[in-house]
Amino acid sequence: MILCMDMDAFFASVEQASNPKLRGKPIAVIGSKERTVVVTSSYEAREYGVKTGMTKYEALKACPWLEVVVGRTRKYTYVSKEIYNFLKTITPDVEAYSIDEAFLDLTGTGYSPEDAAYMIKSFVKRSFDITCSVGSGPNKFVAKMATGVNKPDGFYHVPEDDVLDFVDGFRLKDFWGIGRRLSKRFANMGIFTPGDLRELGEERLVEMFGINGTRLFRLAHGEYPKGIDDDDPPAKSIGHSMTLPRDIRSREAASDYILQLSEMVSSRARKNKYSGRTISVAVRYTDMSTHRQMHMIPFFTSATHHIFETAMEVFDEIWNGEPIRLLGVSLSKLVTNCVTLQNVSDEGRNWADIYDAMDSINEKFGSQTLSFGSMLNCTRRGAGVISPAWRPEGMRDVSYNESY
């Protein structure tokens, strides 16, 4: 039996629990920068239509008496880790899906879903004065869907025999694993429910979607092939993006931020012993159009200067001279524990030693304690609130789809 635990409006709930003045009020958690977006809103704010991804001004327009709170990353990661540690006492098979969501495999633990849900919910409430919703079912998909049934502070259990009836209660657009584009494509074909999908048949779905067709057909039956993934899967890419404090119009200013982003990407790669050979850059203009491009280099690297130099080449190719609102840099085609000769010595410098020294100082005294001089003009890293996709353990698999 699989259990899914999902925190209710996590960041907002922590803020409300921390500050009695915010309790019962519509609040929105944002990053610390002026041009940031709503990361989480409280249930009171959601009633006014305040949604994740809205700008601060859109949110205040929807609810003028909204309390806007700057997110406190370390507080949330601490709470998340404590909850994760508690889940590990119930079963060793815990998959930390995101900062506020986890799957547990109860097989062999002796706990019923009801018992486990009660233990989790009371721990979360007692320790942090916040609530979570729990769903359980024979697989991850059903457990995840069940979590949303009695949200917030709910519990819903789906016995094996009721799975088909349970999934038939949802529209395809509300299915976990069926995105907006796919559900739109189905809608254009007149397919709205899992029953419609089953009627279409596996063969036709495979014709349309290849191997994914089988997955979709199984999903329509409430079946899910993957179990708990308690080993953190290897990262496919490491990326950072930032909405700039103000629109920038010069290559020089962009170069400062690209260096900062390159350093953030490469230090994370080095910390987790990753090297990569594809460097991507994303540029978002003030009209919100986003352009991305990548370059593959002939060797694997985790060196800031390699990532930065390549990122600047990519930037020069895609920038059309318009004012820039957001920049992103990412490293992909990753390998682990790769010794890259190019890191060791080029231009007569021993870069490996330089990065080792930088990393150990930053590890001891805090990030960006030692950095590049040209980054003095940039805003300090850590100013923004973390993405809910952050995982309490190991690397986060970051792609542009998640970050933007």
């Binding site: 629990a17 921390s18 500050n19 009695p20 003045k21 507080k75 601490y78």
Partner: protein, 81 residues
């Protein structure tokens, strides 16, 4: 309104278990009695483990921290009524 202060303060605290429990602190010559510890969490700033608290005297909300690096207490911010 939130005031960011970051000033060193005197705190009366009970040390038991893993967490210190602040009971009162001095603010501008006044003794502020802590009526409620609203929240507590840990943060690591390089080698410094900091125990952070949001506390209330019944009127205002304060954020205080205990730094294990210099073994001192700090008033990080206060949210005035």
């Amino acid at each position: 309104m939130i005031l960011n202060l970051n000033e060193k303060i005197r705190v009366g605290a009970v040390f038991e278990g893993h967490w210190p429990k602040p009971v009162w602190f001095g603010l501008h010559g006044e003794k502020v009695l802590i009526k409620e510890i609203c929240y507590r969490w840990k943060e690591r700033e390089g080698g410094d483990m900091r125990y952070k608290f949001t506390v209330s005297d019944g009127f205002n909300i304060f954020e205080i921290l205990f730094s294990t690096m210099d073994m001192c207490w700090y008033l990080v911010a206060m949210d005035e009524q």
